[in-house]
């Protein structure tokens, strides 16, 4: 029962707020777009991940509970 992060690459326009709020998991590539260093979010960072997802100006950062992922 964990959380997973993913980026909607079409919605993402490279604002970069996510990397500021969750630097432990998100880094920016040379063009300003986020690279997720890990897909799963460790428990201690879930609050920060939620905040990062809520702050994204284009709602491109998605946080799902692991069981909800339909794949």
């Amino acid at each position: 029962m964990g959380y997973e992060l993913r980026v909607n690459p079409i919605a993402c326009t490279g604002h970069g707020l996510c990397a500021e709020l969750l630097p432990e998991i998100i880094e920016l590539d040379p063009w300003g777009y986020p690279i997720l260093m890990s897909a799963t979010v460790p428990g201690g960072l879930v609050m920060h991940a939620k905040r990062a997802a809520a702050t994204c100006p284009t709602l491109a950062l998605l946080l799902d509970r692991s069981e909800d992922r339909r794949r």
Binding site: A11, G16, L17, E20, A53, T55, P57, T58
Partner: protein, 183 residues
Amino acid sequence: MSISLHGPGLWYATRAAGLVSLLLLTVSVLLGVLTAGRFSTERWPRFLTAGLHRNLSLLVLVFLALHVSTTVLDSYVSIPVTAVFVPFISAYKTFWLGLGTVAADLLLALLVTSLVRNRIGLRSWRRVHWLAYACWPIGLAHGLGIGTDRDTTWVFALTICCASMVAAAATWRLVTTARAGAR
């Protein structure tokens, strides 16, 4: 309303709360423009702009509530509670007060849609959020037109200041968007 209060206290409270609301709203609009324009420096990260924009907008609501409640409670002029939400129905300065109501309604729409943004989706949120560019000038017009502080120089100067800052920000945003679109 059966409560009847008098006194200059309420009167000053209304005007003060209204002015502060306008100031905060101005700053919020500026921060909104900066967020969209991806402003940041070494010491000022982008999440700060976005976060301040959000929190100041919520603060506007607090001062707006103060402004509105003191207006309704003040029995010097009779303004029905319904006039808070429905524009142009008060007897007192119908038009200018009505503008204030319109601005308040727009602000509510902006705040509510922003709070449930991930439920309504980005496109609907964005369409409503453009109304911010209507909300602010209508609020400003309400302040100027209602006439209570028109003769006070510093209030007038402050209003002009706010107006020019928002005008500059809006123009910059328009220009950069047009340039990006042309590319």
